[in-house]
Symmetry: C2
Subunit: 129 residues, 2 copies
Amino acid sequence: MEAHTKQFRKRNAILTCLQGTDTHPSAEMVHEMLHHEHPDISLATVYRNLALFKQQGLIQSVATVRGIERFDANTEPHVHFICTGCDAVLDLHQISVPHLGEEVQQTSGCRVENCQLTFTGLCGKCQSI
Amino acid sequence: MEAHTKQFRKRNAILTCLQGTDTHPSAEMVHEMLHHEHPDISLATVYRNLALFKQQGLIQSVATVRGIERFDANTEPHVHFICTGCDAVLDLHQISVPHLGEEVQQTSGCRVENCQLTFTGLCGKCQSI
DNA sequence: TTCGTTGCAAACATTTTGCAGTTTC
DNA sequence: GAAACTGCAAAATGTTTGCAACGAA
């Protein structure tokens, strides 16, 4: 019900925005993407709700690119590519994440809760510039 | 010769500090670690030289933990564990990085220059708190 | 009226930069 | 003297927070 009341429209718009994109946006990018639909939305609201969603496990932080945090509504473990030319964060669906959690636990005693495999380099577009 | 002249003593101390630790320190941690040997070193100098070393490929940024960048003088691809309890960044020497660069290139067209495999969770100490 | 959500502006923390002073050659 | 490095303070940047106003129940 929450999603349909006016009170939660902005909160819901933020989550929907993230769920409907694969660009792994920053808070400011989300704010900009929502500007058309919600011209009066505040950046503070975006930050507040992103923090809330993250705490609830609805989204995750997948990278920090040039000091800016980038988010993803896909919380399944998957692989990312960060382009150092255009700062794009891409999904690499073709590559699968090795499941090494148990091996880590056994060899180091650390309890694994999450795993990120991230490549950096130049995306196709930026290679031809 | 550079390392022995007074002019480069601080710069060298910063690099040596990083090379002699496996704690993956932040700029502020480096600053603090050097305080005993160089009581007058400025945080700005640490930041400036870290940026320089990174650009020269002498060090790499391995993670951003709670918004703070962490550095490593080991630029070989290796695996890290970030503890969400104490913010420690640990090396997982036992686990090897899968070499998927070519597969990434072939399936996505992205040119891979670097790869990071990072686990998060609770380290041994923090599990028993 | 009580609770949760928001916008705004101020505060905050980390990082970067301008500039003057010092060292090296 | 020219070039490079540094400390200090100020600025810039991304993010968080306090507070008053608003909306829902």
